[in-house]
């Protein structure tokens, strides 16, 4: 009885302490949570404040007020600005929200300044980081942003015939006799596997090929086996793979085992699961001008352009990059989502990280693209 009373009193005391002295949650390492953005109508008396005010309006979806903070409204229609920031055509940006940002004045002289904004977008597939260097000018006592709207080339009206192959599946039903032949699952094969230590994470990377003549929905599972043959952990490739593979198509895969290192593992058991699914060979997406470069944050990235060669919009595209060493061995697989829709016949830039431990070892690379089209779902 005494113990019960003591516990109740302690609980009440802790509650009072919690309300009286709240603890602010620390920022998650590696994620730009940044400064708190002002609400709608924030100050614009400095370049940085103007940019933060704009981002605050974006976060609050106050598009009209955000548009009023632009200096080049003559060149940038409001609708185009909103689409540029909020996304359109069912792109990944339309399913995102601005979680946080950091701003920094790169240089300022007189009535002009350059402000870098590191934005952290929270999306349906995880965080996406975007960096914009915004030119800010002083107009009438207030600082305003010159919005860098990229004019997209217009595609002339035309008919794009689609005569690529499409596969549909009819399976055996409950009315069929036992022994009636069903359609076999596609044959897929893991053609390479490599275990890499990346900090405190053991990573399995490699490639898988669809050896069959029908499309396959593929997933790769891996089980780590310890020194005594016991199962240490089991993980799947999740979205670090191009799941739908057409005949003879090759996809990279990556499986992460956080908290494990190579020394603990005696062997790895791999399992490729494949399912027969309906699919279409359309759209064809070309990956152009792939090259390594250093981005504005000083990080090595593999960048290029995606070109949707079909006549319909690809809402969400995921880029998977495979890096090979001089022996042709897969040493890393990185992925990234493009938060803009791929419009027909219109190049769209992409960039994916090249981890520090691969720089200098990469001899060649290959980029593949997974796509999601809303009307196909």
């Amino acid at each position: 009885m005494k113990l019960a009373v003591l516990l109740v009193l302690a609980t009440i005391a802790f509650l009072i302490l919690g309300f009286a002295f709240p603890v602010h949650q620390a920022a998650t390492p590696g994620i730009v949570s940044g400064e708190a953005l002002p609400g709608v109508g924030g100050s614009t008396n400095t370049p940085e404040a103007a940019v933060r005010s704009l981002l605050g309006d974006v976060q609050a979806h106050a598009w009209s007020h955000a548009y009023s903070l632009l200096a080049n409204t003559n060149d940038v229609p409001e609708e185009a600005f909103v689409h540029d920031v909020n996304g359109n055509y069912g792109s990944l940006r339309t399913f995102s929200s601005l979680e946080g940002s950091r701003t920094r004045v790169l240089n300022q002289s007189g009535d002009q300044a350059l402000v870098r904004a590191d934005m952290h977008w929270s999306t349906a597939v995880g965080p996406i980081y975007d960096v914009k260097e915004l030119k800010v000018v002083q107009q009438g006592g207030a600082w305003k942003i010159v919005w860098p709207l990229e004019k997209q080339p217009t595609v002339p009206p035309q008919v794009v015939p689609v005569n690529y192959l499409r596969w549909d599946v009819i399976s055996r039903g409950p009315q069929d006799d036992w022994g009636t032949q069903n359609v076999d699952s596609p044959q897929v094969r893991i053609v390479s596997m490599n275990a890499v230590q990346n900090g405190s994470t053991l990573v399995i990377v490699g490639e898988v090929v669809n050896e069959d003549t029908v499309p396959a929905f593929v997933d790769i599972n891996a089980i780590l086996l310890g020194k005594n043959g016991q199962d240490l952990d089991q993980e799947s490739s999740f979205d670090k793979i191009q799941h739908t593979l057409l005949p003879k198509q090759v996809s990279p895969y990556r499986i992460d085992f956080p908290g494990f290192n190579l020394g603990q593992v005696k062997s790895v058991r791999m399992d490729a699961k494949a399912m027969l699914v309906p699919a279409s060979a359309d759209p064809v997406i070309a990956v152009l001008d792939q090259h390594e470069q250093t981005n504005v944050l000083g990080r090595k990235v593999l960048s290029g352009n995606l070109l949707n060669e079909s006549g319909r919009v690809v809402n969400i595209a995921q880029v998977l990059a495979t890096y090979y060493d001089s022996n042709g061995k897969v040493i890393w697989v990185s992925d990234g989502y493009v938060d803009r829709a791929l419009l027909p016949q219109t190049p769209e830039p992409f960039a994916v990280d090249m981890p520090d431990n691969t720089v200098g070892k990469v001899q060649s690379y290959r980029v593949t693209v997974s796509h999601y089209i809303r009307e196909q779902s």
Partner: protein, 288 residues
């Protein structure tokens, strides 16, 4: 005498008891499923007859001294049957086995439904032999397997079944197309269709031609090593390596040919691959 008399009495009692104990019914050791069977009885008066089998149980009143008729429908399932006759103060029993009748159907499993051409021992066929009442026919029977593709001589082989199953491994033909895989036994036939598809592309060749938009790259008709055209929809990857970087595009084959237009302004080396097979390289100059 006094010592012998109890022993004699005891012996007489035991012999009397033995004569009154259960006597075995006269039953055959085995019969075929669905056969008619008669069981002779002796004595007189009413008796109760029980028949207990794997999927059958019967009880009926009979007259001792008359034959008991077991109908064919009562012994359809293969297995051990026990017959018990109780009446006239005694009980008789016996057992017999029902074995499968003559083969009446085949359950045929063929795997896979889709196989590349010229795959050694790639086609597996398993046939289970059943009689009219779905009993597994365990005695050896000869099952004929035949794999026949269009425009190709059929391949046939006979296999003796073991414990009701016969199986075979066969090599797929060199020519792509649907093949009929047949298992046959005494006029009973089961057919499955195996789709023999082209194997990996062989001798991938491309040619490239610069035009106003860029470079038009096209493969020669893509065939496997047996000369079969590779299925439409098979993905071919074109890679162009130039001063502006690497460009790749995955293109499906249409009517034996894969073709793509790469927007490359400058000189480039173009290569091709499909799955794990690589083709030739072509060098193109820059736009003029």
């Amino acid at each position: 005498m006094r010592r012998i008399l109890p022993a004699v009495c005891l012996a007489v009692c035991l012999m009397t008891a033995a004569s009154l104990a259960a006597q075995d019914l006269q039953l055959p050791a085995t019969i075929a499923a669905g056969s008619e069977l008669t069981i002779p009885t002796s004595g007189s008066g009413a008796a109760t007859f029980y028949l207990i089998g794997p999927s059958y149980l019967a009880k009926r009143q009979v007259q001792l001294g008359q034959e008991i008729h077991i109908q064919p429908r009562e012994v359809r399932s293969a297995g051990r049957y026990t017959a018990v006759l109780r009446g006239g103060g005694s009980s008789q029993s016996g057992s017999f086995y029902v074995v499968a009748a003559k083969p009446a159907s085949l359950s045929f499993l063929a795997h896979p439904s889709r196989i590349p051409v010229a795959q050694r021992d790639g086609v597996i066929g398993v046939a289970f032999v059943f009689d009219k009442w779905h009993n597994l026919v365990r005695r050896p029977e000869t099952v004929d397997f035949r794999l026949a593709a269009k425009d190709a001589p059929p391949v046939a082989q006979s296999v003796r079944s073991r414990d009701g199953a016969a199986w075979i491994l066969m090599t797929s033909a060199h020519k792509a197309g649907n093949a009929k895989f047949v298992a046959a036994l005494d006029g009973i036939e089961e057919t499955r269709v195996i789709q023999q598809v082209a194997a990996d592309p062989c001798h991938l060749q491309i040619r490239a031609e610069r035009n106003a938009k860029g470079v038009l790259v096209q493969t020669a008709p893509v065939r496997d090593c047996s000369g079969n055209p590779v299925s439409d929809g098979t993905v071919v990857t074109f890679t162009a390596n130039g001063p502006q970087g690497l460009s790749t595009v995955d293109v499906p084959i249409k009517k034996d040919i894969a073709q793509a237009e790469l927007q490359i302004p400058g000189p480039a080396t173009i290569s091709v691959a499909s799955g794990v097979v690589m083709g030739n390289e072509v060098k193109v100059g820059g736009q003029q």
